[in-house]
Symmetry: C2
Subunit: 347 residues, 2 copies
């Protein structure tokens, strides 16, 4: 229900995905009469669940969640918690998504803080995390992000033996601040394919598949990336194309090339950002997601559930003793037994 464009964009995206994946089920959570209208002639693998309330952008996430028992994000997350859905996808209030994941699903045993990951587009997408779930992360948090990111990259992005790196101030392994130095020691003790540090300039060189950093760094990078790419391509370059007859003619000649460049920065196809470390797949997509991006966000949710990312993270943490606790997560993540259920929510 939430997001900048709301259900009128999210619903057609999710219904389109359902149409192309008849063995799976998409559950739309929200104001059902509205959703039915927007879904139009939806296939039979689209279901509807009542959750008409929306968490507003100005509301305190946890408090709104406690008060609005029928908010779409709360109802959708409860479906995953109760094993009635395998993943939740939202374009709504990011803070409400975090709160629902932590309060309803809970974090995996051994995970102190979950991390929000994003695939950065480019010639070859790579995973950047944390981009904002957890300011004031510790070195131990960073080491867990490395592990969780590696599993997601391998299973969902299809990268064998992903190269994992810390984003830092120098190339030399271990160089950076105290947190990065300590995280280097911790990750060095794991069996991850850890390549040490990458710098800011390396982010366009595709030298790592998983890039780990603190929330402040990650959030600044992802927003600067969007801002700078948009500034160069939309403001500066498109401005020159529009400026005069020469520009217009140049655009006509260069149009296929401009399309290729735009494709390289197409974050809609990689914009389903998983919140890793909670008991069940939670995908938080861009607040400005339109139907195409919603389609891809549902797809990431489906793949994250089908590939059992949550369960693999729990196993990888070596917490066999907490296996009973992780049962919920395993159940939520393991969709092999039958048709998958993906609840799509936006508020």
């Amino acid at each position: 229900m939430g997001g900048d464009h709301g259900a009128p964009e999210v619903v057609p995206g999710a219904v389109g995905w359902a149409r192309e994946h008849p063995a799976d089920t998409v559950i739309l959570v929200g104001d059902v009469p509205l959703l039915r209208t927007l879904a139009g002639d939806a296939p039979t693998n689209v279901e509807f669940v009542h959750g008409p309330e929306v968490v507003g952008m100005e509301e305190h996430p946890a408090r709104a969640l406690a008060r609005k028992k029928l908010s779409s994000i709360r109802v959708a997350t409860e479906l995953v918690k109760n094993g009635q859905a395998d993943a939740v996808v939202t374009a709504g209030h990011t803070g409400a998504g975090f709160a629902a994941a932590k309060l309803i699903l809970g974090t995996l045993p051994g995970i102190d803080r979950p991390a929000l990951a994003v695939q950065l587009p480019g010639a070859k997408p790579f995973l950047l995390l944390d981009i904002g779930a957890n300011p004031d992360s510790t070195a131990e948090n960073l080491a867990q992000y490395a592990r969780m990111g590696s599993i997601f990259a391998e299973r969902v992005m299809g990268v064998p033996n992903p190269r994992v790196a810390l984003l830092s101030i120098g190339e030399e392994k271990g160089k950076g601040d105290a947190r990065i130095s300590r995280a280097t020691e911790l990750i060095d003790q794991t069996d991850l394919n850890f390549i040490g540090n990458v710098e800011g300039r390396d982010l366009t060189r595709f030298v790592a598949d998983v890039v780990v950093c603190d929330a402040v760094v990650g959030n600044v990078v992802i927003k600067f990336f969007e801002g700078l790419a948009s500034y160069i391509l939309k403001d500066l370059l498109a401005g020159e194309f529009r400026r005069n007859l020469r520009g217009k003619l140049a655009y006509l000649l260069l149009r296929p090339g401009v399309e290729r460049i735009r494709t390289a920065f197409d974050y809609e196809v990689v914009g389903g950002s998983p919140l890793l470390g909670v008991r069940g797949p939670m995908i938080i997509t861009h607040g400005n997601a339109k139907r195409r991006m919603a389609w891809w966000a549902v797809d990431v949710g489906a793949r994250t559930a089908r590939e059992r990312v949550t369960e693999l993270i729990a196993e990888s943490l070596g917490l066999a003793e907490s296996a009973a606790d992780a049962g919920d997560a395993a159940q939520a993540a393991d969709g092999a037994a039958g048709p998958d259920h993906f609840s799509t929510s936006g508020g």
Copy 2:
């Protein structure tokens, strides 16, 4: 002597600056016979000082500095320390520059850690600091960066009443990690024109004149900026121009526009990065600086000295009781009494 291209590029840049500023003096420090050859038919306001040793990129900065008494960066910095020059400019080993500044000049009274600042190009340049002098900064450090950056922006960049912001994870004032929250409280108590937080996406929107952050964030941003701008403009766009006849024709039509875009990302003219908080102007320019960028780095050094930035920072810190200690800095920074002396070094 140092830098990727070394004296063959730095010397012509510095000599060119001297030719256009006959009332000032440029002191070239290094292998004097080599410098004389490279300087060619230099004007009389170019002087030469013996300092032939170079700190290599692979050397430990402080140790190399202690051992190489005739390294150009050490000799040049000592000229400022002794009042024989008003600013030092280097394209050499950044760590050696930091070490020389701290060990020879020393930090200003009340300054815990100096900060390296850079002017980010764009429609309207703004100052970003710290970009790498000081990992593990405290909230108190950030508050001092804000003060030092504001003075530099006002005096050298010519921005009246500069808008100062913290780079963080959310727009709301004070939002971020513990360090940012605390720095917000500290800067709120000052008379700076403090506008609260900016996010990564705001860095291309020119909403602040001075953007303050920790070294890891700043370093990642500046290197990501260089990498991404180069990737879009050089790899992607220039690649399309070269791809085929249509591309070549489009380039001919769009050439003035491409030049305008390149100008917007011309970091050579803003690439003289001041190390703020030490007792005398130290300008550290890009290791890959060629003669044009060296010219501009000398120019920033000259303006920083002439505008008495060091002295103003010391005064602004309200440390009148340490006035005697700050005497060196004031002397070094105050070039009003006669022709200015700028020592240019690269290693």
